[in-house]
């Protein structure tokens, strides 16, 4: 569990008095004890540290040794400890939302320990953090240049605007003025290994980051097959139900955060689906995890189930579900082997169930309605005619009406979301500052901003702190009882189906592929690219609808649609390519005569 202390110390090598073994550990009080015979000796860690080289440290996860610095800088702490606090809080929040308690106490904890071990931050003989940057000890700045593995912050590839300023704040020219009293503190950071975390790049090692905390959470949720998709999780984070943006405010008071720690723990963007997802896959491989528990067709994450959810949310007829199931069967995406995450198996590394389900729905809509900006409107004309005549009985699904209803709703919701995002407060009570001398100014500024916010808050009518609505899985709900007929769940697909024997076939005889050829992922990062102007307005609308529901970029959904289509029409495409001598270019609309 989280309470274990995993202390070990390698510098004390005297044989134990009682059992002559050299196997020492540390108690919570900092005294040495022999692991073989549990003999506690008087020698404490404090004594050692004073005459040992600054490389020696204790690694303890739960409470560990907290040395109160003379300058009252709080505890010594490692970056991964900070992340541990955050993960704990996130897991607790998820538990509050109804997730099984096993997630926190067993799964996540296990993953985390495994990660610490693999990345050599703890639970291992020689943790990586034992060698902080030598800059601290050296007097001259020339040592900076002589470090071969050192990567200057100017080389970092992923830059955001705020990074540049962090450099100017803690430029290397100021190293000589670092507080000399703490030998073990690294350059300008509250944590011990903050600077090495940010600057050093060890190959093959996975550096922890804020988005990665969500990767951990999702991985644990996936292991337990909880009914939470990644997009749901990220939405809960954005709505504030799960700590993320100012998660560091849950650190105990004695853990001081400043300097380069900000680069690690300060968040100025919402987590992106792609980033969290890719990190999760990387993590699963890094941890050498075995095959995840199997996703079967009774599982919430199975496309057969998830499609129901998204069909309901998009206000589409329930009857479409049988069609999604057929597509799932035909393409094989419902297979357990395909769905279950297996880090070792390249082809079983997807686990994007939400995007998959949504893409299937889009493909079904294309199959039935064609969505070429003409056919679907013609069909809806027929439906409208028919619905006018037959008021009783089930209504035929009218695409035009559906479009109007959903578009109106979407416009309102998108506007609401945009305003909410603009009103969101990013800063919390705990001020962040780069260096000790900035602290006073930062605190003062924070106080002033708070008082100004109160002043303007008094001018507004509504109370500023509104109770957060409890999160729900469904963002849009449609009332079937509503007499104005704005709910389409019960509508029939009769209008565009024809009976052939006992099978229903779509009247639409055509289909257009989003792309003829898939890209090479290694070259351009994605299998397909989305350019708005290339596609019909109806298709764009539907993409935007699901992009809004999932809070995901349209290009990701589009990519998945391309993939599904290629699976579905694999036979045809395969035949076609044999006839041609040269492969065609990507993203050209091509009409294929086919029948499903």
């Amino acid at each position: 569990g989280w309470g274990e202390s995993a202390g070990r110390d390698k510098d004390y090598n005297e044989p134990c008095v009682q059992c002559s073994d050299v196997n020492w550990g540390l108690t919570d009080e900092g005294k040495f004890y022999c692991k073989s015979c549990h003999n506690v000796i008087e020698r404490t860690k404090e004594v050692l540290v004073s005459d040992a080289i600054p490389n020696t440290k204790i690694q303890s996860l739960s409470k560990g040794l907290r040395k109160k610095k003379k300058i009252d800088k709080g505890w010594e702490w490692y970056v991964c400890e900070g992340f541990q606090y955050i993960l704990k809080k996130q897991a607790e929040a998820l538990q509050k939302l109804g997730v099984c308690p096993r997630m926190k106490d067993e799964i996540l904890c296990c993953f985390w320990r495994c990660y610490l071990q693999k990345s050599k931050q703890a639970y291992c003989p020689r943790p990586v953090n034992d060698t902080p940057l030598e800059l601290v000890v050296s007097d001259s700045a020339t040592d900076v240049d002589s470090e071969p593995e050192r990567v200057s912050p100017f080389d970092l590839s992923s830059f955001t605007e705020s990074d540049i300023d962090l450099q100017t704040e803690c430029s290397f020219g100021q190293i000589s003025s670092v507080d000399r009293t703490s030998e073990t503190m690294s350059v300008y950071s509250g944590s011990i290994d903050g600077s090495s975390y940010v600057l050093k790049r060890t190959k093959g090692n996975m550096r922890m980051s804020m988005p990665m905390t969500l990767s951990f959470c999702y991985m644990a949720l996936l292991w337990l097959k909880e009914p939470v998709t990644l997009s749901d999780l990220l939405r809960f984070v954005a709505e504030g139900h799960i700590p993320y943006i100012n998660a560091f405010q849950y650190f105990p008071e004695e853990i001081k955060l400043y300097g380069l720690d900000l680069k690690i723990f300060r968040v100025e963007s919402w987590p992106e689906y792609e980033e969290v997802h890719n990190k999760m896959l990387e993590l699963a491989a890094f941890l050498d995890l075995p095959r995840f528990p199997a996703i079967t067709d009774s599982c919430f994450l199975h496309p057969d189930m998830l499609c129901i959810k998204y069909l309901m949310e998009a206000n589409l007829p329930d009857e479409l579900h049988s069609w999604t199931c057929r597509v799932v069967k035909k393409t094989g995406v419902g297979e357990t082997n395909f769905l279950t995450l297996d880090a070792e198996n390249e082809s079983a590394r997807k686990a994007n169930y939400d995007i998959l389900s949504v893409a299937i729905i889009i493909v079904v809509l294309k199959l039935l309605l064609l969505l070429n900006d003409q056919y679907e409107w013609v069909l809806s004309n027929f439906a409208e005619e028919r619905n006018k005549k037959n008021k009783e009985g089930r209504l035929w699904f009218d695409f035009r009406k559906w479009y109007k209803v959903v578009k109106t709703c979407m416009d309102i919701e998108q506007k609401k979301l945009a305003e909410e995002r603009a009103r969101c407060l990013w800063k919390c009570e705990t001020p962040l500052f780069y260096s000790a001398k900035q602290k006073a100014a930062t605190l003062k500024k924070r106080q002033m901003i708070l008082s100004l916010q109160r002043q303007f808050g008094a001018l507004t009518d509504s109370p500023q702190v509104t109770e957060k609505q409890s999160p729900s899985s469904f963002q849009l709900t449609w009332d079937e009882e509503n007499p104005d007929g704005s709910c389409f769940h019960g509508h029939s697909l009769e209008g565009f189906l024809q009976e052939k024997g006992n099978l229903h076939r779509p009247m639409n005889p055509e289909y257009w592929l989003c792309t003829v050829k898939l890209c090479n992922k290694k070259v351009c990062g994605h299998l397909a690219h989305y350019k708005e102007g290339d596609f019909s307005k109806s298709y764009q609308f539907i993409l935007n609808l699901f992009s809004f529901l999932l809070r995901v970029d349209v290009s990701l959904i589009h990519e998945e649609v391309c993939l599904i289509e290629h699976k579905l029409f694999n036979a045809r495409l395969h035949k076609k390519s044999k006839k041609q001598s040269k492969p065609k270019e990507n993203a050209i609309r091509k009409w294929l005569l086919t029948r499903v």
Partner: protein, 454 residues
């Protein structure tokens, strides 16, 4: 795309003329261009959106909504981008002031509280904020508070002052000078109402203190090229009270004639009035007003100017006088000014009765006006209106109409008819007069190609 080296096409004509092009191999990263670069964080994006919402709300006078978004926008002060942090204080100050000025729940205390916070936000804006706040206080009649703030701001110094701060400081000193003058004049008024025995030394001393402070600051600001009308007036008042006429004269002359200063008719007006008070000779007065005439021919002092000119013995001056009076009546504001019309009428009469010696003057002046004055001044509609509203005006104008446009002029005919009907004696004389000088009309409008007959 296996390299993009083009080979020269074989068998093409004239390949000696067109050298082959060897394009370099395109690096892999150009195959699929993708936007890379500094990504904007969500924080920056949402703050930009927030600003847009605030701007929209301000433009639509939705103060409540603007205040709501302001709560979130205040966080821009803690932005991690240095450039944003630098420009944030001014934006916050201006938006906040705008909201607090208009919001129904806000009052002066709120604004004062807010402005104090803004002053602490940054060195760069301190004086600007002070100055605007002082303007606000003055506009709302809070003279004492304004004075306090001015005193505080005047004494503010921070490191090396930039040029912009220098200007602001000068403005602050100038307004302090103005308020010192205001206090001085209050004191002066109070003292004038008391008897001489009740003069206390201290109050007189106070008055002198105000005078000194005011004089120093006002003098400084007037040195800078600009438009400082109220400051000049106050300063001259001070100087005159204490008898420093030389200084006053110099100040006013500088203000009016220094080419570095923007052209300002008021400067000449102030100078003129001062010289008049000093009892200067007509010659110098006329020279001052000459410039005023050039810049603002429709100025109200023009009548005074005209009177001075016509009284002169010099022919040139009298000629100028005629020009002045004609020009004054070119402007719509003088259309119904009886005095101006009677002056002109008087002048014309004199010329006519003076054996037409200077009729060509009239001809010159009338030449440029004969196309449009008839419609402008002497229309039938105006005849009716003038007769209804102001008989004297109608009379004077009729006289001129009769002389300048002949007795067939509609205006003249109508007014004359009305006047004779009303049995006003002078209209009979008018009729005789015009008849007598009907030849003048012909001479005046002699060289006209398109004489407009009304």
């Amino acid at each position: 795309m296996d390299g993009l080296v083009e080979e020269p096409a074989l068998g093409e004509e004239g390949d000696s003329l067109a050298p082959s092009i060897h394009l370099p191999l395109l690096p892999r990263c150009f195959y699929h261009p993708v936007t890379v670069g500094r990504k904007k964080t969500e924080f920056q994006k949402t703050k930009e959106a927030c600003l847009n919402y605030i701007q929209d709300a301000l433009l639509q006078n939705q103060w409540q909504r603007a205040a709501e978004f302001m709560i979130s926008y205040l966080e821009i002060l803690e932005s991690s981008t240095v450039s944003k942090r630098k420009t944030a204080p001014e934006a916050i100050w201006r938006i906040g002031t705008e909201i607090l000025l208009h919001h129904s729940k806000s009052n002066i205390e709120e604004l004062n509280y807010f402005t104090e916070r803004m002053k602490n936000l940054g060195v760069k804006n301190y004086l600007k904020v002070c100055l605007e706040h002082i303007f606000y206080l003055l506009c709302n009649g809070l003279i004492d508070e304004a004075y306090q703030n001015l005193t505080l701001a005047e004494g503010w110094r921070y490191g090396e002052q930039t040029a912009a701060q220098n200007d602001e400081l000068k403005l602050i000193q100038a307004y302090k000078g103005l308020l010192d003058y205001y206090n001085w004049s209050k004191k002066r008024k109070a003292m004038l109402e008391l008897d001489e025995e009740n003069f206390t030394d201290s109050s007189e001393q106070e008055m002198h203190n105000f005078f000194r402070q005011a004089a120093v600051n006002l003098k400084e600001i007037i040195k800078i090229p600009g438009v400082w009308d109220p400051f000049v007036v106050c300063y001259v008042d001070l100087l005159e009270f204490y008898g420093d006429y030389d200084e006053a004269r110099e100040v006013l002359t500088e203000y009016a004639y220094n080419s570095k200063f923007p052209p300002n008719p008021n400067a000449h007006v102030y100078l003129y009035h001062f010289l008049k008070r000093q009892g200067e000779s007509k010659k110098s007065l006329v020279s001052v007003l000459k410039i005023l005439h050039k810049t603002v021919p429709s100025h109200e002092l023009m009548l005074e100017f005209y009177t001075m000119l016509t009284k002169s013995k010099k022919r040139k001056k009298r000629r100028l006088g005629l020009e002045v009076i004609f020009e004054v009546l070119d402007f719509a504001g003088w259309k119904e000014n009886v005095k101006a019309w009677s002056c002109l009428a008087e002048q014309i009469k004199q010329i006519l009765e003076n054996s037409n010696k200077h009729l060509d003057w009239v001809k010159e002046e009338w030449n440029s006006r004969k196309d449009w004055w008839p419609a402008f001044h002497f229309s039938h509609y105006l005849a009716k209106r003038n007769w209804q509203e102001n008989e004297k005006l109608a009379y004077e104008k009729a006289l001129l109409a009769g002389i300048l446009l002949g007795k067939d002029c509609k205006y003249y005919k109508y007014v004359l008819h009305q006047g004779c009907k009303a049995k006003k004696k002078r209209f009979q004389t008018l009729k005789k007069f015009v008849k007598k000088h009907s030849s003048a009309y012909l001479r005046i409008s002699a060289c006209s190609d398109s004489s407009t007959h009304l």
